[in-house]
C-alpha cells in the first residue's frame, strides 16, 4: 500500500511526513514525528488526552486522519512553552498541583489554552463545560479548574 505524503505546519514549523491512509493524526504525531505529548487515552474521542488544535480549532487527534493534516496548521503541547519559559497555564498547573499522574495534563493544557484564547475571562461554569471532554481520573477536577481560572486572571492582569 502506498503511503500518503503530507506537508503541514506543526507548532509553527513546516513538517513533512508519510503516513498510511487509515492512520490517525495522533499516531503520526507520536510514532512518526516523536511528538509524544498528546496521549492515547481512549482512541474514541471521549477522553481528550490527545487534544491538539488544527487551524486554531480544538480537536481530538485520534479522530482525525494524518492525511487530513495536509496544508493545515497543527499546535500541540510541545509548542506551548517558549523555550524554557512555561506558559502561565503550565506554571499554574505545577504551582497549584493540578495534576497527579499527568496523562490527561497535555490535553487539558491545550484545551484550556484554546478556551482562554477565545474567552480570557471564563466563569467556572464555562471552564467546566469547555473542559468536559477532558477526563482526569486522579484530581477530581477541582484543582484543574482553579488553576485554569487563576492562570486566566494572571494573563488578564499581565495584558
Amino acid at each position: 500500500m502506498s503511503q500518503i505524503h503530507v506537508t503541514t505546519k506543526i507548532n509553527g514549523e513546516s513538517r513533512e511526513f508519510l503516513c498510511e491512509a487509515d492512520e490517525s493524526l495522533l499516531h503520526v504525531l507520536r510514532d512518526r514525528l516523536g511528538l509524544t505529548g498528546a496521549k492515547e487515552g481512549c482512541g474514541t474521542g471521549d477522553c481528550g488526552a490527545c487534544s491538539v488544535t488544527v487551524d486554531g480549532r480544538l480537536v481530538c487527534s485520534c479522530l482525525m486522519l494524518g492525511a487530513e493534516a495536509e496544508g493545515r496548521e497543527i499546535a500541540t503541547i510541545e509548542g506551548m512553552a517558549e523555550g524554557e519559559q512555561l506558559h502561565p497555564l503550565q506554571r499554574k498547573f505545577i504551582e497549584m498541583a493540578a495534576l497527579q499522574c499527568g496523562i490527561c495534563t497535555p490535553g487539558i493544557l491545550v484545551a484550556a489554552k484554546s478556551l482562554l484564547e477565545r474567552n480570557p475571562d471564563p466563569s467556572e461554569e464555562e471552564a467546566r463545560y469547555w473542559l468536559a471532554g477532558n477526563l482526569c481520573r486522579c484530581t477530581g477536577y477541582d484543582k484543574i479548574i482553579r488553576a485554569v481560572l487563576d492562570a486566566a486572571r494572571e494573563m488578564r492582569e499581565a495584558s
Binding site: S24, L65, E68
Partner: protein, 288 residues
Amino acid sequence: MNYQAPTSLDAAVDILAGASGDCHVLAGGTDLLVRLNSEMIAPDTIVDIKRIESLRTITREEDGGWRIGAAVSSAEMGEHQELAAAWPGVVEAAALIGSTQVQGRATVAGNLCNASPAADSVPAMVAAGAIARIAGPGGIRDLPVEKLPTGPGRTALERGELVASIILPPRAPRSGDAYLRFTPRTEMDIAVAGCGVWLQLDEEGAISDARVALGAVAPTVLLVAEAAHALRGTHMRDGAQQQLEAVCSAAARPITDKRGTEYFRSHVVGVLARRAACIAYQRAGGAA
C-alpha cells in the same frame, strides 16, 4: 485503504459512484474514525469532503432560509450569530453533541447520515422542517430530513450519493424552535430520549402550526403528527401541555437497553416534549 480528498462536489460523486468495495464519506469523522480505529469497518475508500469549498460554508438562501454545507462543524454553527438567532433549537442541539473537541469536527449532516436513533441534531432538524440536499450520479435531489434515516445505521442514500447540504427554511414570523434531551450526565453523553419542537403562533397568540419530533424512542426519528394536532389552536396552557405529553409518550416505541427502559423513555420523552414546546412557545413570542 484509499484516501481521497476531492475539491469539487462532482468529483466526490464520481469517486463515490465509481468506487468498488466499501466506500465511506468523511465529514467530521467523529463517528467514522471511531469505527475505523476499532476495526468495526475496513473501508476500501474514504472520501474526505472537507476540501470542497461549497460544503464548508453557511449561506443565506434567496428565500431567507439557510444552507449549511455538509462539512460545517457544530462549533461553526454555534459561532454563526444569525443562524443561532434564526434556529436556536437546531444550533443548541448541534452544540450538545460530544465535547468541545468533538464539536470542532462533528457535522449535522454526518449526525444525520450516521443514522443513530439517538442523534441529537436530527429531531431538532426534523422539527425545523429541514431538507437534506443530496448529490449523486443523477444530479441533486431534496429529501425531508425525517426520510433519510431508515433504521439504525441505515439511510435512504443510494449508491454514489452523499448529503451535500442541510437546508433550513426561513424563520417564519411568530415562530420558535427548541430541542431538549435527557442524559444522566450534563455533558459527554448520549440521549436517552430527545425532543425537538417548532411552532408558530397566529396574530392572536394561539398556536397555528407545529412540528414535534422525538429522538431515541424508535429505530428512527419520529415526526408525531398527533402532537402537532394537540398543539394547534391552543395557548400552551396546562391542558394543552398535558395532552402533548400524553400524545408523545404514547407515540414512543422505545427499546429497553443500558441507557433506559421502555417505561422510562416513554415517560421522559413526553416531559421533554412539554418543556421544549414551552421554550419554543416563548421564543415565538407567546406569553409564558
